[in-house]
């Protein structure tokens, strides 16, 4: 297991290096005039017009060979300098760091119910093939697939906020924002729920939970549909295997057969998909964030792209590739827990 983990870990820097090369190569497709914005502190530096732009191109060596420019660029990144984001009015690195906790909090709360729900529903559907339970779950997943996020999200908002006033948009109520902004509340993680608990402030914890419910439910419903279908198919496949038949022939209870023999083996594809799902969520969920007035990385990335905010787009691309690399590693490390053959390979 340790050798397997080391082998997988050794790939991380190589993959990340390749990704930075690709991102930089994409950037190099732009002309020096277009790229100069990623080097200056803010667009105000370009106010002087063509002469100033030419001077900046010279200053930053944007006509130098690829490898020299890549070296300088990666050097800047290693120092945390990703340029200035006009979209966020702050350095890109600072913007990513300040927005990440909001997205992470959403992902944490959405991911656990999605995975557990998908495993449970998919297993139930697989076990009860072509029976009412299976039909019900299939209908539920088809609806989830077909419901556009913005329609589902807006419906949720209109019913549970507009009509009954239970779950407001945003991250905190006004009174809670004042309290969190005040001197008595210490920011540890940027995750409102976690910070509230660490500060021993139950009202703020409950308030932040209240604000999380609608975006989490929206996110869960949409993600749950795809993962449930995969789990169902995988479960059906597992239930047809010889080892399941053998287990039944040995006289094991149906519960043990389903849970220990079939479900565990059916989990492998779900682990893979779950890893990708988390990566997608950590990349930001633009529509959910926009509808629920939840300023996270998704809105930031979308705005940056729409505004041709190159430093922010490139910074986000780097962040997202890092997320993908790390999650792939996590998924790889999880495989042996479910399938010992991976460990031996």
């Amino acid at each position: 297991m340790l050798a397997y983990a080391i082998r997988r870990l050794s790939f991380v820097p190589i993959v990340f290096f390749a990704l930075t090369l690709m991102i930089f190569a994409m950037q190099m497709m732009l002309t020096p005039t277009q790229r100069v914005i990623t080097y200056v502190g803010s667009p105000d530096a370009l106010k002087g017009g063509a002469a100033q732009v030419a001077a900046l191109i010279e200053k930053y060596g944007l006509n130098d060979p690829f490898y020299e420019q890549y070296g300088r660029w990666i050097g800047n990144i290693l120092q945390g300098n990703l340029g200035w984001s006009e979209t966020a009015r702050m350095p890109v690195a600072e913007a990513l760091v300040s927005l990440f906790p909001a997205t992470l909090e959403l992902v944490i709360f959405a991911f656990v119910p999605v995975v557990l729900g998908a495993i449970w529903l998919g297993s139930r559907a697989g076990v009860h093939l072509n029976r009412p339970v299976d039909h019900g779950i299939r209908l539920f997943t088809v609806l989830g697939w077909s419901f556009p996020t913005f329609v589902f999200g807006l419906l949720m908002l209109m019913v549970f906020y507009g009509s009954v006033g239970w779950f407001p948009p945003g991250r905190l109520s006004q009174w809670a924002m004042v309290e969190v902004g005040g001197g008595g509340f210490r920011r540890w993680t940027g995750l409102n729920t976690v910070d509230a608990l660490l500060n021993g402030n139950l009202p703020i914890f409950l308030d932040s939970l209240r604000h999380l419910i609608l975006p989490v439910v929206t996110l869960c419903y949409v993600s749950l549909a795809s993962m449930t279908r995969i789990m169902r198919t995988s479960m059906l496949e597992a239930l047809r295997q010889d080892y399941v038949r053998t287990a039944r022939a040995k006289g094991m209870s149906e519960r043990v057969v389903q849970n220990r023999h079939a479900r565990r083996n059916a989990l492998l594809p779900v682990v893979t998909i779950a890893g990708m799902e988390v990566a997608a969520m950590l990349g930001g969920v633009v529509i959910t964030e926009t509808i629920f007035d939840y300023h996270g990385l998704g809105q930031f990335a979308a705005n940056a792209a729409a505004n041709l905010d190159f430093p922010a787009v490139l910074g986000f691309a780097l962040y997202f590739s890092l997320v993908l690399v790390v999650l792939n590693l996590v998924v790889d490390l999880l495989y042996p827990l479910f399938d010992p053959r991976v460990r031996l390979a």
């Binding site: 732009l30 702050m90 300040s98 009954v164």
Partner: protein, 643 residues
């Protein structure tokens, strides 16, 4: 057992649906949801309406506008409004004129310098000081003085970044210099600002310093010649906002000397020392500016010289999704929301929501033609040639192109279906109520045949033959702007299928960079709204000058070609109008300028701005001043449940 859950849940939802609507939430805090965002906290750097919402509330000026009046003023940091009658406006030698402002005593900034037991000076919130600490406030550290006024005005002028700061330069030099760079170049006898040496920099600093004199508690500003808009400029909530010199220097900003000002001239946004800090003396102070959440919170300043505001806090938050804003307004979580005009009537029928309409505005919305634009790596002009895949950088230099575009717009459809008949077509730079406006002046109407006629003549027939492709820019989230551009896009394609107009929405700051952020604009076409900063159509901030002068605000951003046209055709008449004393004669000249803006098709004038606000009915006290573009002065605002 479970059969009762469904019906019970339904009943509960219905029962609670009313409760969500009406209660007053967050008493003492006004939550304003908009689609805008602010750019900086430095009043000298800012120049647009969203920023005004902050500076007007956080900083004091020498004077304020009197309620909704656009030509009357009330004292603020100055204890009196200068006039000939009270002797504070005095004609001087060689045609100069001086304005004297007696400075109010005992006005504190939000943070003041207090000397500790160790002798060190610490900046502390005035509201939180004990009596003992108040006694230890270091003189000059947070109590505004005449010297602070001088420093603030000089800092803004020498920073020279915003056109509002440059307007003060123009005022002080009575129109001789549009900005500090031009003044420095003239005094140094060189052609570019880069050539101005240390002696030249010192010379312009000293010349400026000579024009702002401090005498005890009085500041006197000496203008080279009479400048009618002086008081109006001094009351605008931008570059004339007063800072505390000691605090500003403590932030690492300009030290007030001749030898260092260039280091602080036109700083990059993030490098401006006051970019994210504030210490004004207005009724509110910035408590928190969360740039990642696009939210700014202002807290009441209890030490405000006129007494504390009624509201304890004001929150400005950017919420781009209209439905979310509306639901928050209905639920009472928001008190004011930015509302698209097409939803106005519908929103007005909802209980607890107040729509105040018909607020006068002094400006219009237009599509601006910009030429020449940057030819290097500019996606907005495609191939850069008239080959059907782009346009040349000076595409709009041909009057037939501009007239073709103007005839291709369906103004009436816009007014009727998009603006719901609530306003009228813009006839030129001046709107109703401004000198030079005439209801019968010529305007363009939708006429595809005339448009085709002009397009066939444009660029020797190449436009019609080859077609074109260009990108028009707009700020995101403005549905009326999008409708205007879409309509133009469709009409152009109908006139000639080879005419392709692309529409790109950008965030305000990015839009600013593309359109007015540089010496070489990159946008060939942009939709915006610009208006004067006082009621007179002349002078640096007047409507006619803004649009039709080579040194006007619009001229400054729409390219050298446009400016040349203004120099050739409009500047002489503008000068004549500004120096003419007889109002009747002036009116004729400004009316003539309005007609000329049509004749030369300088711009596609669309509609006069329509003013309205949408609030909860528990919000009272809003005072609309059209010169401040309706920016909210939160001092008189109150929030209380209606009985």
């Amino acid at each position: 057992m479970k059969s009762w859950i469904g019906p019970s849940l339904g009943i509960a939802l219905l029962a609670l649906s009313g409760a969500a609507q009406a209660e007053l939430k967050n008493p003492g805090t006004l939550v304003y949801l908009w689609t805008s965002d602010i750019r900086t906290l430095d009043p000298a750097y800012m120049a647009d309406t969203p920023n005004t919402y902050v500076s007007i509330n956080t900083h004091m000026r020498l004077l304020n506008y009197k309620g909704s009046e656009i030509s009357e003023f009330v004292p603020a940091l100055s204890t009196e409004v200068p006039s000939l009658e009270n002797g504070l406006i005095k004609p001087g030698e060689n045609g100069s004129i001086s304005y004297t402002f007696p400075i109010r005593k005992g006005v504190h900034t939000h943070k003041v310098g207090v000397k500790g037991a160790d002798g060190a000076i610490a900046w502390k919130l005035y509201d939180e000081l004990t009596d003992q600490e108040k006694a230890a406030i270091v003189p000059g550290y947070g109590e505004l003085t005449a010297q602070d006024v001088k420093y603030s005005l000089m800092r803004a002028i020498l920073q020279g970044d915003s056109w509002m700061a440059n307007a003060v330069t123009e005022m002080i030099t009575a129109g001789k210099y549009p900005n500090i760079e031009a003044w420095a170049m003239d005094l140094a006898g060189v052609k570019t600002f880069a050539e101005v040496d240390a002696a030249g920099l010192a010379k312009v600093h000293d010349a400026l310093s000579d024009k702002i004199k401090v005498d005890g508690d009085r500041v006197t500003i000496v203008l080279d010649a009479p400048f009618p808009a002086t008081l109006g400029i001094m009351a605008l909530p931008f570059a004339t906002s007063i800072l505390d010199e000691e605090w500003t220097r403590d932030q690492g900003d300009w030290d007030g000397t001749a030898g260092t000002w260039k280091q602080f001239h036109k700083p990059e946004l993030g490098e401006d020392k006051l970019f994210e800090v504030e210490n004004g003396s207005g009724p509110f102070m910035v408590e928190d500016w969360d740039r990642s959440q696009k939210k700014i919170t202002m807290k009441r300043f209890n030490g405000y010289w006129q007494g504390p505001a009624k509201l304890e806090r004001v929150v400005l938050r950017s919420v781009p999704e209209w439905t979310t804003r509306l639901l928050q307004l209905e639920a009472g979580d928001a008190d004011v929301v930015t509302t698209p005009v097409e939803f106005l009537d519908e929103v007005g029928e909802k209980p607890g929501i107040k729509v105040t309409q018909g607020l006068p505005q002094v400006f219009g919305r237009s599509i601006f033609y910009i030429w020449p634009v940057s030819a290097v790596d500019n996606p907005a002009i495609g191939s850069g040639k008239l080959d059907g895949k782009g346009i040349p950088p000076d595409f709009f230099s041909d009057i037939d192109v501009r007239q073709g575009f103007n005839y291709a717009q369906d103004y009436q459809l816009l007014l009727d279906d998009v603006l719901l008949g609530k306003t009228v077509q813009l006839r030129g730079p001046t709107v109703r109520g401004i000198m030079g406006y005439r209801p019968d002046s010529p305007v363009y109407t939708y006429d595809p045949e005339k448009a085709a006629e002009h397009f066939k003549k444009a660029w020797g027939g190449q436009v019609w033959e080859n077609g074109f492709e260009l990108t028009a820019y707009m700020t995101e989230g403005n549905s009326a702007y999008h409708s205007a551009l879409s309509l133009l896009q469709q009409n152009l394609a109908r006139i000639n299928p080879k005419f392709r107009l692309k529409i790109q929405q950008l965030q305000a700051a990015t839009f600013a960079d593309k359109v007015y952020g540089g010496a070489d604009p990159s946008a060939p076409m942009a939709i915006m709204g610009w208006g004067p900063d006082y009621s007179d159509p002349g002078g640096p901030l007047g409507a006619a000058t803004y649009y039709l002068s080579s040194t006007g605000l619009v001229g400054g951003m729409v390219g050298e070609g446009y400016r040349q046209l203004m120099r050739d055709k409009f500047d002489p008449l503008l000068k004549q109008a500004w120096t003419t004393v007889d109002p009747a004669e002036r009116e004729k000249l400004y009316a003539k300028l309005q007609d000329m803006s049509h004749e030369y098709a300088t711009t596609q004038f669309l509609w006069e701005e329509y003013g309205y606000i949408v609030t909860r009915d528990w919000v009272d006290g809003y005072v609309h001043n059209m010169i401040e573009y309706g920016a909210w002065d939160f001092y008189p605002i109150s929030k209380a449940e209606k009985q």
